[in-house]
Subunit: 265 residues, 2 copies
């Protein structure tokens, strides 16, 4: 069993579901948003009976701490093709994250396929540099969650050192540090696993997410995922981060967008 | 008072809010999704006391018909900067649309601004062709909602005649047909006012929205908005439509993304 599966496990209880937030997915004191999303999705996949979160939106209300958390779910609309459902992550009687999603089984879908998007062209993972190494070299602290991933950037990546991009972007390879392969839920977590696009340029540290939406478009093949994240519009401290994840067969796995906030300049 | 304001008006009642869906915003028998979103947002702006929907997500469950509709709202989290809230549009005891949003006052936000995105470069509205004219020329029916907008495409737009794009995209000018200026809520509706990117190429008609997320980034200046919508990943009949709206001062007003479904090929 992968560490990710273990740390996102949910147990049915009298009020819905419960889980345990493990601090090894923390950024400082706060659990990573993609990790929290995956805990909620674990419960929602069970409740809906559909394996694939084709569109999920998480609103981050108040960061929980490591430890027990409740997952309250509600089926908004049952259906044959899509089941729509919500989940609330609750800790200490406060709602921490509200998730709404449409769930389906992608293997049962039929219809035309036309893909004009292309995966970014960067050197293979063996020719890239580990993010942990780059972060240490830049004299920055390595957040605990970063140790859960093997994330590699091109050696000439402008991100490595504090710099400035236009657009702000980061592209690299990602997989779990324990070598486990991606599945639909971990793909959702990968959509929030890269460091902020603005880091080093505009943002000094944490860039909290207000809202994150991820569309799962293809179930990932085993192996590395290739991720690219870009910010084109930063207005008065609010920014989007648009992401794409591609699998080892060059197929588009997920499109993501988050609205985030710069805390410090 | 603009037709849009009139047709999205909400009245407080004992159970929350109520509104009247006017069929002049229909696509065939179904009200336009952006119009329905605007009705819900009208109630949410009142409930939250915040004028700007900085991030809203709508899940379309079951199309309502023209006529009375209930809007049930819930404040998920109050806050100084952001208020998070949900709304359910209910007709005939069935929930039709579930909306979740973060609301703020954009004029009170402070922080860095860096915009690398640029508005698309097309001829001015006076040198573009009306969508209604193009639609009629192409022998297609003009949906009723199209009469509510003045939407103009470049004369050489590949969209005008059935064709094929790679990526599928549509770019044009938009304003209300009654000449009223855009405001934060109408900008959200404009994000769902363009015809489907796939129309004529892959899709025969209606391309129903599963989920639509819009980020309001700047309050629009008076005048035309410039909109561009693009589809890069169509897999087994599911597609994203990524949109940008720019105001007459060249500022980015909204970023939108929807997950939609091709019904007929």
């Amino acid at each position: 069993m992968s560490l990710f599966s273990e740390d996102t496990a949910v147990q049915r209880d009298s009020q819905g579901w419960s889980a345990e937030i493990n601090p090894r997915w923390n950024v400082g004191e706060n659990p990573n948003g993609g990790y929290l999303l995956a805990i909620a999705l674990r419960a929602l996949v069970e409740e809906t009976g559909r394996p694939d979160p084709v569109s999920v939106t998480a609103h981050y209300l108040s960061p929980p701490k490591a430890g027990p958390i409740q997952v309250r779910t509600e089926i908004v609309k049952p259906g044959r093709s899509f089941v729509t459902a919500t989940a609330s992550l609750i800790q200490g009687d406060r709602e921490r994250v509200r998730i709404t999603g449409a769930f389906s089984d992608l293997t049962e879908r039929q219809g035309p396929t036309r893909i004009s998007a292309r995966p970014p062209d960067i050197p293979g993972p063996e020719d890239c540099v580990g993010l942990i190494e780059l972060t240490s070299q830049a004299g920055r602290r390595v957040p605990e969650v970063m140790n859960r991933f093997d994330l590699r950037l091109p050696p000439d990546s402008p991100w490595g050192a504090p710099g400035e991009g236009d657009p702000f972007e980061i592209t690299g390879w990602i997989r779990f540090a324990d070598g486990s392969d991606p599945d639909p839920l971990s793909a959702m977590a990968f959509a929030d696993a890269f460091p902020p696009t603005l880091l080093g340029a505009v943002a000094g540290g944490w860039v909290p997410t207000i809202e994150l939406t991820v569309h799962l478009r293809t179930r990932p093949s085993p192996g590395w995922l290739l991720g690219t994240f870009r910010t084109r519009v930063l207005v008065d401290g609010l920014l989007e981060e648009d992401g794409e994840l591609w699998d080892s067969d060059g197929r588009p796995v997920a499109l993501s967008r988050q609205l985030a906030m710069v805390l410090s300049v």
